[in-house]
Symmetry: C2
Subunit: 185 residues, 2 copies
DNA sequence: CAAATATATATCGGTCCCGAGGTATGATCA
DNA sequence: TGATCATACCTCGGGACCGATATATATTTG
């Protein structure tokens, strides 16, 4: 599960600029450290695996720093992979919440506002499904299942979260789909 | 990581009433299925492990249903373990968000409102720390790190979530700590 | 009547992932 | 000058977890 988020983050950061592993580690920690910490024993094997898949190349740079660095460059294949993963997210559900946030963090790498809006619309469609969250089948999980104030609180918080995201999605999609008058700055 | 949430849920459900494994499975799925699905290969070993730890006992009931049931009963040791875990949550951070919600779902099992409020206060203290979420050390992660509208949206949603929880915590703590006039209802 | 589905419990192989440790150098500080 | 820390990369053992599978019966559906 972490692999999917981590690989997306690596592809996204390397599209911004070439980085060496240690630097990448810092950025990944800043992005998802509080949500899901990533260990060295996960990061470095991921880099190796992705290099073998041809999504990035490694160039040794001895003498640059304290220890020998291996700078990582995104290949055209890696760039294509990133864009594929942004365009065709295969899961948008709650159990993959972290993954959705990671995707959001790199959605700017799809150049077309129309494409960006299309991805947001998919998330919106998912959130608006009555089967999404706190539903069991088609029956909402309400009073009976959550009789005490603490479970009620859980529902309250979940509802507020979902409302916040929905309203953000609506305004952002509108903005993205409003055609920009050409010739302006 | 799932172990902690799952065991808490099992202890909590069994404090309500004895259940057999399949029933427990349904309830666990209803509670955390959308957040984090739990496989059979995780649930049944957990039951076994917890029985060996002395937190629950199993009683075979042949002929009750299609297949032979093994009804699960919480032992006094299991009950003590549950209350210990509710009273002394060792982690309340974001990476353990699911765990916090699971704890909330069973907090009613601490009988004293004062004790319930104490746990909420700890969560409140954590959320109000400036080092909590979207902070890197003591520097808030703001404009520079999240330059595009999508990362801004991430911040917006996270902020709304946190505000919703904070306001709920404040009112609930106040209610819990308001002494009930004796002799009513 | 046959097939499919739901009930019900459990094991096992294999993968994913983390924590700990290993290696090495430059910088900082007492 | 010696200790300690930050930089920098990587491996390995082991535990947690999932998916698949096995088994067996009652009920529903075609």
């Amino acid at each position: 599960m972490i692999t999917v988020m981590l690989e997306l983050a690596i592809l996204g950061f390397l599209r911004d600029q070439p980085l060496h592993g240690y630097d990448l580690r810092r950025r990944v920690a800043a992005l998802m450290g509080h949500v899901r910490p990533v260990a060295d024993g996960t990061l470095y094997p991921a880099i190796k695996r992705m290099a073998e898949a041809g999504w990035l190349t490694r160039k040794d740079e001895p003498g640059t720093a304290a220890a020998p660095r291996r700078t990582l460059y995104l290949t055209p294949e890696g760039r294509a992979e990133l864009e594929h993963r942004l365009r065709e997210p295969d899961e948008l559900d709650i159990s993959d919440e972290n993954r959705w946030f990671t995707l959001l963090a790199f959605l700017r790498h799809l150049d077309e506002p129309k494409e960006q809006a299309a991805v947001l619309r998919r998330r919106l469609a998912f959130l608006e499904e009555p089967t999404s969250f706190f539903y069991d089948g088609d029956r909402p999980m309400g009073a009976e299942e959550f009789p005490d104030p603490f479970r009620q609180g859980l529902l309250t918080i979940a509802h507020a979260t979902s409302q916040a995201e929905l309203s953000w999605l609506h305004t952002t999609i509108t903005t993205l789909e409003t055609p920009q008058p050409p010739g302006l700055a």
